[in-house]
Amino acid sequence: MIRVQQNDFDIGAEIEALRAGRTDIGAIVSFTGTVRDTAPHGGAKDAPITQMTLEHYPGMTEKELTRIEAEANERWPLQASLIVHRTGALKPGENIVLVVTASAHRHAAFEAAQFLMDFLKTNAPFWKKEDGPEGGDWVDARESDDDALKRWDKSDEAAE
C-alpha cells in the first residue's frame, strides 16, 4: 500500500494496521525518515535548518511508489508492505517518510525495507527545500544514494 499525504502518520498505528489478525508474519521492519535540524549544504558545512518543504509530482509520485513497492514484492516474499510519504512544510523532528515491510523471515523484511528506501530516494519525484536563517536551498541529490542502488543489481542479488 502506498500513500502521499500532508498529515503526519502514526508509526505504531500503521504497523498495527498492517499486522492486525495475522499469525503468518515473523518479522516486521519499519523505517522512518525525519527532518534533521542541520543539513550539509553541498559540502562539508552543516547549516541549521528551520523548515523543510517537500514538493512532489502528483500522479507520477503515486505511480512510482506503486512500481517500487511491486518490485520489492516481486523480489522478496513479503506478507505486507507500506510506503507513506509526506509533502508540504515540515519542522525539524517531524516525520517525512515511513516504510514498513512484513515477512516470515527477518532478512527478507530488512532487505526489502532498504530496497524500498534506496529506490524511493532515487526514483520517486519528491524535492526537498531547506529553509534556514540565510534563506532557502533546494537539497542536492547525493551520489551515495545512487551508489546505494547498485547493490540491488539483479546479478549481485544474494540468495535469500
Binding site: L54, I96, L120, K121, P125, W127, K129, W138
Partner: protein
Amino acid sequence: MSVKLLYFAWVREKAGKAEEVVELPENIKTVSDLMAWLRSRGPEYVAAFEQSDVIRTAVDQTHVAHDTAIADAREIAFFPPVTGG
C-alpha cells in the same frame, strides 16, 4: 502537437511557472530538442535549462533519457534529481 509541460523545484522557480501548454514545432523530436527549443523562448527558460545535463525528464509520468522521442507525449515534466525520502 499540443503538449502539457510541467516544471518542478528549481526548474519551476527559474522558469517562473509550474506548468503550461505549448504547441510543439514539427522538428522537435526528442527531449533534448524540446529543451533547446525552450531555451530559445526567453531568458527565464535559458536560466531553467542552462544545466540541461542535470535536469531529469518524465514523459507521461515515466522517467526517460534525454534522447527519448516525444511523439504522442501528452505530459512532459522537467525537474532536478529527486531528493525525497
